[in-house]
Every structure is written in structure tokens, then in C-alpha cells.
């Protein structure tokens, strides 16, 4: 098996298998796209596996305008953007301290954050839900006057949970940056805040970008917390709002396909344009140093 020829044959077999696999992998996405372009009546008449007689964007128009899905996109952004920005800001502060100063609590603190991120969300959500229905918020945030069923509540829980992962990743990243850079700042007599804000934060930029891309995708894709903490359908982000398109007795599956496609298009765009950041965000947490 070590001769050049047989390994070449082996490679072509591997390529063919990989090729078939990857087509199978992409097929469901392709299939959903196709369904989304077909009118429901067409599928009803000819079956879902049939020559597409009509292909148009009508389902998309219905989903976006008639079912007002554009609102849910806004909801998604209203949740994801603040959540990610706050998370990165808070996590970078903790990461800065534990990686630049040698306090006794450093490792314990990092462990607390890391473990917190690994807890099953089901363990956290019952008291959070009970808490949220009792915490008072001003009327302009929620007419009901409580934190439950507000996007603010959803943002808070995302921040608290994602912070664990972000802190862990950022502090790992900072450990790879030589401390000399900080020391010159200290010799200059910079305050702690300046050290963080002027020296460390700019250094963190690549890691913040990767984490930002990854966490935006995660929060955008969140389903569990949105369903658990937002009772009114019209406040839900797009991923959770998809179930609004599923009727109790009747579902226009081609419309739903358009809705699902609309929901995953932003993540696909992010993936194809910022793939490097997405991938490095995922691996920053897994490979040390």
C-alpha cells in the first residue's frame, strides 16, 4: 500500500466517495430551495418529486410581505447585535484581567465561566423563567411591566451564557500574545483601564472578529431561549418565528420552505463571506494556544 500507484488509486476512490458524500450532504438544502420556488398548487397536482412546471419567487413575497417575516429579521438583529457586543465587551474585560495579572482567583474564575457555558440550558431556564415573570421593567420596555416576554430578557440570558465561552476563548488568545507589550505600557505608567482599553482591546481585534461572527450565528440560530422566554410570536426572532408559518391544521409547505430559506440565507452569506472567522472562532475554543 505504500507504492505510489496504489495510493493514487486509493486517492481517486477517496475523492469519488467524498464527492458522493458531499452531494448527499448538500441535497436537503438544495431540495428546500427548489420547493421554495414552486407554487403549492403545482406540488399538490404533480407531487413533490416532479418536473417543476412553475418556478418563481412568489412564496418569498408571501413570506416576507404577507406573513410579515421581515419583522422577525428585525427582531433577530435587535437581539443578536446588542447581545454579541455586550458579551464581547464583558468577556474581554475578564480575559484581560485573568491573563495580564496574576491573581489567585484567576484559574478558578475561568473554570467558573467555562463550566457555566457547558451547563445544559434546561438546568438554568426554570428559575430564569420564574424570575423573569416577576422582575419589574418600565412600561416602555414591556407593556406588561415584567422582564418576561421582552427582548431585553433574551439578550441578558444570551450575554450571561455566551460570556463563559467568550471569556475562555479570549483569555486563551491573550495568553499567546507576549506580555512584553503590556509591560512597556506599565513602564509608561498607564492605568489599568488604559492598559485594557488602549493596549489590550486593539490586540484582541482578530479574536473578537472571529468570536463575533460565530456568536452572532449562534444567537441568530437560537431556538430554545426564544421559545422559552418570548410568549408573543411577533416578538420572536426569525428562527423561532418559523413555527408561525406552520398552521395548526394546514401548512403551505412551499411557503414554509421559502421562510426557512429566508431564515438561513443570512447565515449562509456570513459563512461564505466570513468563513475564515467562523471557522477560527470555533477552533479558538478547542485548540489551546
Amino acid at each position: 500500500m505504500v507504492t505510489g500507484k496504489s495510493s493514487k488509486v486509493g486517492n481517486s476512490i477517496a475523492i469519488s466517495i467524498l464527492f458522493v458524500f458531499s452531494l448527499v450532504w448538500m441535497f436537503p438544502i438544495f431540495w428546500t430551495l427548489l420547493q421554495s420556488l414552486r407554487p403549492y398548487g403545482d406540488v399538490l397536482k404533480f407531487g413533490s418529486v416532479s418536473w417543476p412546471h412553475h418556478l418563481n419567487l412568489h412564496n418569498y413575497w408571501t413570506a416576507l410581505v404577507q406573513s410579515q417575516m421581515w419583522r422577525y429579521f428585525i427582531n433577530s438583529f435587535e437581539v443578536a447585535v446588542p447581545a454579541v457586543v455586550i458579551t464581547l465587551f464583558l468577556a474581554s474585560m475578564v480575559a484581560f484581567v485573568v491573563s495580564r495579572y496574576s491573581f489567585k482567583f484567576n484559574v478558578a474564575l475561568l473554570m467558573l465561566f467555562t463550566a457555566g457555558n457547558l451547563l445544559p440550558p434546561q438546568l438554568v431556564f426554570i428559575p430564569i423563567f420564574r424570575l423573569y415573570i416577576h422582575v419589574w421593567v418600565p412600561n416602555f420596555i414591556n407593556g406588561d411591566g415584567v422582564l418576561y416576554n421582552t427582548q431585553l430578557g433574551l439578550i441578558l440570558i444570551h450575554v450571561a451564557l455566551q460570556m463563559g465561552f467568550a471569556t475562555f476563548v479570549l483569555s486563551n488568545y491573550l495568553k499567546t500574545i507576549p506580555k512584553e507589550i503590556s509591560e512597556s505600557a506599565l513602564v509608561d505608567g498607564a492605568s489599568v483601564w488604559k492598559h485594557y482599553y488602549v493596549v489590550i482591546l486593539p490586540l484582541l481585534r482578530p479574536a473578537l472578529a472571529s468570536l463575533g461572527v460565530l456568536m452572532t450565528t449562534w444567537i441568530y440560530n437560537d431556538f430554545f431561549w426564544s421559545v422559552a422566554l418570548l410568549s408573543s410570536g411577533d416578538k420572536r426572532p426569525i428562527t423561532a418565528a418559523l413555527s408561525n408559518l406552520q398552521g395548526e391544521f394546514f401548512t403551505d409547505y412551499n411557503l414554509l420552505a421559502a421562510g426557512a430559506t429566508l431564515a438561513f440565507i443570512p447565515t449562509l452569506i456570513v459563512f461564505f463571506t466570513l468563513r475564515k472567522q467562523f471557522v477560527s472562532g470555533l477552533t479558538l475554543g478547542s485548540t489551546k494556544g
Binding site: V94, W193, A263, F278
Partner: protein
Amino acid sequence: MTSSTTTKTAAAEVTPRRRRRGHSFTKTDRAVLAGLVGGPTLLHVLLVWIPAFCTVALSFTYWDGIGGLDQIHWVGLKNYQQIFTIYQDFRPAVRNNVLWLGFFALIATPLGVILAYYIDKELKGTKFFQTAFYLPMVLSLAVTGIVWDYIFRTNGFVNSVMGDTSAQTATSWFGDPNKNIWIVLLIASWRHIGYVMLLYLAGMKSVDPSLHEAAAIDGATAWYTFRKVIFPSLRPVNVIIIVITVIDSLRAFDLVYIINRGRNGLQLLGVLVYDNIFGEATRIGWGSALATILFALSIVPIMLYLYQTFKRDN
């Protein structure tokens, strides 16, 4: 999050100093440090750890959620006893979670590793393959459930190809409680495999190339090198993948919830917790006990992860 005005005063006060292990901070510096660590930690503890412990505490109580906290009664281990004996959905849920874990551990995860091994060879078309396998990862599990519904629904792709889409006679992939969990595992693996592959590839890229070369000089085959040299050197990545496999199997919720709300053969512990809070009856004690069981099962992988990650720091 102190304002930048403090910076100026701090800078003015500071005398040149060396790093002397936390004794040379000014008052402002100390306050800033406390804020930098304390603020985020407080939020995290308040919204994650305290609720987690409350759940464990609530698992020993009875509370239907109506009325104030004074309506909570201590019942000891009764919730657990009832869950183990009379809660009909518990057994199928445990079975499904175990099945999920087994399927991931024995099939999906190894497949991801094998794919990574071949992708790492940088064969022709490697970029395309990589993209294909990564794609499911950017889709949410909710969308994933919808996407696969078009493949397996009664009049979906598979049944159409098999030639029977009638509601009466065709195979109901999601409706048949003996089949649906396998379909769900297939779908979950679709996503999991790419994730494992990604992590593994990153790990393999970080392996010292001289290891490869040394093995090649010794005349070892690529597969032998992988098994005996590369795989053992990737211990940290292996641990992380084991942890992710276990934890994701325990957390599973979205996929089955979007398919049929986790009923009729698709029960999972994660869904039962939810059902006991938002279902027909609110049984906070039961829900908390189920969540605590999930927690107990997660402790081992969490500890394993912490040990692997932090052992070199100490």
C-alpha cells in the same frame, strides 16, 4: 466600565512601577480591576449559577407555579421517585438520550474523524468537500428540522422516490415511533459530523509536520501513521470532541421539538423539562428534577473538559 475620566487621575497619580504581583495598584486601579472582573462575574453568576442551584433545590419540592414562593413544599426525593416509577415519558426519553449518545459516539463522531483524515490529505476538490460538510453547521437546528422534513415527510422526497406517498399506506418516517428516532439521529449527525470534522482538521493542522515525516521515513502507511502517531498526539482535541459529543447528546431539544414537540417516540430529557413547565400541567418539581438528572449526567464531561483544559495552568 468606569468612565475614562478616572484614567486621567489614575495616570497622574501613578509613579513608575514594575510588576509586583498586585501590591502596586492605585485606588482607582483597584476599583477598575474590581469592576472589570466583578461586573461580568456577577451577571454570569446571577443568571447562570444561581438559577442552576435553584433548579437543584426546586427538584426536592412541590410547586405548581401558582401563588408565591410560600406555596413551595418540601417533598424530599418524591419527585425523583415518581419520575422513576410512574412518569411514562421518562423511560423512552432516557432510552432516546442513550441512543443519541451511542449513535453519536459510535457512528457520527468517528465518521467526522475519518472525513477529517481524508480532507487533511488535501486531495483534489478538498475546498468543495469542506464547504459541503460545514454547511449544516451554519443552519439552526430549527431550520434543519424543516429542511429534512421535505425529505422524510409522507409525501416528501424519499417516499416519492419509493413510489408511495399516500397518507394511508406510505411509510411515516416521523410518525412511526419505532422509526422516527433513527431519522432524527441521522439528521442530527448531518450536523454533528461536520463539527467534529472541523475541530479535528484544526487539530491535525497543528500537529508538528516532522511527526509525519519521521513516520514516512520509517515506511509507515498514512493510515498507520494516523492511528499510531497523529491520533495519540491529538489528545486535547479528542477530549474536547468526546465532551462535545456527550454534552450535545444530553442537551438535544430543538430538532425534535420542531418535528413533533418531542412526543410519540421522540421524547428526550431536555424536552420533558420544558414540557413540565409549559405543558398542560405546570410541575416545577418534576421539571427541576429532570433538569437535575441532566445536570448529574453532564458533570463527568464537564469535569473532564475542565481537567483537560486547565491542568497545565496549575
